[in-house]
Structure formats: C-alpha cells, structure tokens
C-alpha cells in the first residue's frame, strides 16, 4: 500500500528505516503511469514503507527536496535521501533501486 502524506505527516517518512516517496501531481501523465507500478511494488516489498506526496498541495516539501520534474521517486534511509529516480521507470528498474538502497 502507498500512503498519501502531507507536510504535517512527513515526520513519519523521516523516521522510517527505509521509505520510498513518490512525488506526483494529478495533471502529470507519467505520474499516472508510474503510480500503479509503485503500488504493485509496495505490495511485494513488505519491509519498506511507501508514501506519495502531491506536490501541488505540499509546496514546502517540493521546495525542500528540490523537485523540478515529476514523477520523482526518492528512497530515504532514516530521513536521508539515498537514491532517486526522476521520470517514469519500469518496475524492474525501480525494484533494483529500492533493493540496492536497503
């Protein structure tokens, strides 16, 4: 499951051992394509927490993490970004990035 979080709830991401965050917006085509792929991965990889952040509603988070293009999928380890994927990526590539960050 991918949990939709906002700025106020983002501490949960910062405190997680490993968190994958999908920064997206409703108007973004590639975001709509990668969303279900992240959802599918979240059901298979159970030792990682999955989140998504709507950048339109959470400008401060988008600014903090320097989001210039979406979708942007970040992997955090205890709140520190360790990997990123900007733009759509196939499932295997995302899985490899997440597993490498573990």
């Amino acid at each position: 499951m991918v949990k939709n979080v906002n700025t106020n709830e983002f501490d949960e991401v910062r405190n997680a051992d490993i968190a994958v965050v999908d920064f997206y917006a409703d108007w973004c085509g590639p975001c709509k394509m990668v969303g279900p792929v992240v959802e599918e991965i979240s059901n298979e990889v159970t030792d990682v927490n999955f989140y998504k952040v709507n950048v339109d509603n959470n400008h401060d988070l988008a600014t903090e993490f320097g989001i210039m293009s979406i979708p942007a999928i970040f992997v955090f380890k205890k709140g520190v970004k360790v990997a990123e994927q900007i733009g759509f990526a196939p499932k295997d590539a995302l899985l490899a990035m997440i597993n490498a960050a573990k």
């Binding site: 973004c28 590639p30 792929v37 196939p90």
Partner: protein, 291 residues
C-alpha cells in the same frame, strides 16, 4: 482502444516488414508512423542492393512497399508517439492524438541525429524538460525558455504563456514564428545549458539568458527518452540477434538497432523482431495458462 498484440513504431523498411510478418502470423497490430513512409526511403536517389528491386530510386522502392502492405491489408496510423511506458504485462504508448496499449512493442523509428546540448543530459529533470504540457505547472509565474526544432512547437509556447510569467522562444527553423504576443521570440543560437544544482542559464551565440526551465522540443526523441528505462549505446538501442532489448516485450530493428544503415538489413531485422515478438506472446500465454 483495444489492446493490440504488437505495436510497431516507425514506417521505414524495418517497421513495414515487421508489420507484414506479424500480420502473416495472425497478430493484431498497430503500425504507427507516416502514410508516406520514412523520408529516408522516398528521398533516396538510388538503392542498388535491395534484393529483387535492382537500381530502384527511393520513390520506386516506396511504391513497391506501399503495394505490398496494401495487398496485405496493413493500415498505418498517423500519430507521433511521445513516450512508451513498460507497465509490466503491457506497454502504454502516449501518442499526440491518443493513448494506445500493446502486449509488445517494436521500435523502428530510425536513428536520431540530433546531439544534446552541453549540460542538457546533466540537468534533465532539474530545469531541463522535454514536455511542456507535462512540467509547465511546476514553473507557474516563472521565466522559461523554449528551444523549438519545428513550427509545431509554437502551440506549446503559447500554452506555456498561460502558466509562466515569461516565455522566451528560440526557433531553430527559418520561417518566422507565429506565436501569441506574450511569447518573446529570440533569434539566437542556443549553445549550452549552465547551472548549479539545477539549470539556470541558457547560453546562446549572443549572450546568456537566466531562466527557471529550458524546454528542449525536438521533432525526434532519443530512444532512452522515448522508452524510459531502455538500455542504449550512443544513438542505438542495445540488442542481440533476436532483436530483444533489456525490457521484456520490447524489440528493436533497423537503424536504431545499429550500423550498417542499410534498407535490406532494416527489413531483415523487422522480420526477426516480429517473429521474436510472436514467440514472446506465445510464452506469455503459456505462462498465463499454467498460472
């Protein structure tokens, strides 16, 4: 739209032969490209080594191709594919006019000659974008530059003015652009993209322009951008004798698969790519039945 077995992108000899082979194998196909085929075919002066058509000028070859595919009932869908997403069990193809779905994809687009600007790859996704409609809202109230290869991109620049404060338009073509009043046309040659954490400056033949984003809009899209996650080697897609790529279900043929750039080689590879796609679909169906 109904999902097809094989989507073929490109109407040069590779794409056309792939279509003919796939139809022969009773596959439902979608052939996307131009009804006039590839310019590289029709504009060729003389092709001396195409088996069965000696000393054919490009237009003669094109006419033979046309007769062949029409005889087979192959139809060409005129559209431009901007992105192909590997969704896992299928592919989603984003066209300018429509979205298509296919179980397999054969890339037969030919090779893209345009070289990226210095800094372009480095800042892609960080102030460099290839899609105005995708990323425009991120630059609300900001200043953006548009590098436009063709007149078609004028609509994109007009669209950007609805969101961005300033739109600087750099046409790479000779005709006088007809854009709305809010677009500033600048007739300077873009040379380089500079920045720090993100792209900030477009360097041109005449000076520098400070912008928040540079939209680089070319007619042809490089294969790695067309299919996110696709493994490439220079201008070519990494492949093998079965014309497979690193993405299961995605195949390649013709110039995009590598040198030599020959019509007959492209056609032969189109044949192999289609047969590989047919095998892949058969394996997929077998797997589904067992599951």
């Amino acid at each position: 739209m109904e999902r097809v077995d094989i989507a073929i992108i490109g109407t040069g000899p590779g794409g056309l032969e792939a279509a003919i082979t796939a139809i022969n194998r009773n596959k439902k196909i979608l052939l996307i490209g131009s009804r006039d085929f590839s310019d590289k075919v029709s504009k060729a002066h003389m092709i001396k080594n195409y088996l069965g058509l000696p000393d054919a000028a490009g237009d003669v070859l094109a006419k033979s191709f046309k007769n062949h595919i029409e005889g087979m009932g192959v139809e060409i869908t005129e559209d431009k594919i901007n992105a192909v997403y590997a969704m896992g069990k299928y592919f989603s193809l984003q066209g300018a006019n429509e979205t298509y779905e296919a179980t397999t994809v054969i890339l037969a687009t030919g090779v893209v000659m345009a070289k990226p600007y210095p800094g372009e790859n480095e800042f892609l996704g960080r102030g460099v974008s290839y899609c105005a409609t995708c990323d425009a809202p991120l630059y609300k109230g900001k200043t953006v530059a548009v590098i436009a290869a063709t007149k078609k991109e004028e609509a994109e620049a007009d669209f950007l003015t609805e969101v961005c404060e300033n739109v600087l338009y750099f046409p790479l073509y000779k005709e006088t652009p007809s854009v709305c009043d809010k677009v500033t046309v600048i007739n300077e040659k873009p040379l380089e993209i500079k920045g720090d954490m993100k792209a900030r400056t477009l360097v041109t033949s005449e000076g520098e322009h400070n912008v928040d984003c540079i939209f680089v809009l070319r007619d042809a899209i490089s294969p790695g951008q067309l299919v996110p996650g696709l493994a490439t080697e220079g201008a070519h897609v990494k492949t093998d004798r079965q014309m497979t790529t690193n993405i299961p279900g995605c195949f390649v043929c013709g110039d995009l698969a590598g040198k030599p750039y020959q019509y007959i080689k492209a056609a032969g590879e189109g044949n192999v790519a289609a047969l590989s796609a047919v095998d892949y679909i058969a394996e997929l169906k077998k797997g589904e039945q067992q599951a």
